[in-house]
Symmetry: C2
Subunit: 196 residues, 2 copies
């Protein structure tokens, strides 16, 4: 028992409740009243743990962004052939999306109404650009088709991967993270058509 000492809320445990409600109702569609009902404490008590609604959003998207940018620091994403690094990043993105599902879900739905949201959008663009560079290098190596524009292809691949948050649910007998990762890699690199 390293952490179990008090059965009261910490900023972290409160965050996990809040993010779940945010994802169900949308950030703007969630009131502090909704959060207090879901957490089982009064509205004013929430302010004992966090500064306000927007801090909860900031903590959540930060966690998601840290997970995604962490991929790019891993060895397999930095050394080797571009095509293999790209495949590694794609597979790891699936793992992070599923591992940090509620946080990444919230990140991907941010619209840009507040300063926090605009900051999140900017960091997302950074990440996308870095993956696009990887794809561009793979094209230059001749390992990836060049007849589809790099930015367009990147966006479509991101669209496929990011859509996981719209339907993946970790409940018991669903599909495994490995199964989804395999499917994404197969479709991204080989498509639907039957191969030899």
């Amino acid at each position: 028992m390293t952490t179990a000492k008090r059965d009261t809320y910490t900023p972290e445990t409160l965050l996990s409740v809040a993010v779940q409600v945010f994802n169900e109702r949308g950030y703007d569609g969630t009131s502090m009243e909704h959060l207090s009902k879901a957490a089982g404490i009064s509205k004013s008590s929430i302010y004992h743990h966090v500064a306000g609604k927007e801090e909860l959003l900031r903590r959540a998207v930060s966690r998601a962004l840290d997970g995604l940018f962490g991929i790019l620091d891993e060895e397999h994403a930095r050394v080797g052939h571009a095509a293999e690094r790209l495949e590694y990043v794609v597979r790891r993105m699936v793992e992070v999306l599923i591992g940090e599902l509620p946080y990444v879900t919230l990140l991907l739905r941010v619209r840009g109404n507040t300063g926090t949201e605009r900051w999140a959008l900017e960091r997302r663009r950074d990440f996308d650009h870095q993956v696009a560079e990887l794809l561009k290098a793979a094209v230059a190596d001749g390992d990836v088709r060049g007849d589809v524009e790099v930015r367009l292809a990147t966006r479509l691949v991101f669209g496929m991967i990011n859509s996981i948050v719209e339907w993946y649910r970790p409940d018991g007998r669903g599909m495994s993270e490995r199964e989804v990762g395999d499917a994404v890699v197969q479709l991204v690199f080989s498509g639907l058509r039957k191969e030899a």
Copy 2:
């Protein structure tokens, strides 16, 4: 001049303004005050044209759903080999997404907080299921790989196509609808890998 007679708002012209604001700020993040500023008329005047905020949402998602379901009624989507019908539907989905971009964008962001939103989600599921059946038939014909589960593949393909609303902008020298359609069909059926 078939329609030009008064330069005042109709429910349709007001809708196009409202949908644009909804997409920028999110439906829940948009107040009637925001709409009145964007439309250039007072808040109360909006109620002369439409019953309320939710009717604007209903009109918008209806238009998007009509466009999508219309695809399935077209001849090329009903007769022929399943694989070819699937490719036709994929290409037409791209056309409808781009042609009705703001309306489809709004549809794809609906969360399910109100009755109207839940109805929209249900109709979307109907559409997805019908396309999944098409994919299943193509697998049975041996034209599409069977090593990726049909429901999983359908979701990933929808994810790629639907992501178009997140980045496609029709401004002047962007890419053409045809270009995007070609790229999607190439990636969906053949993937990123270089082919012969």
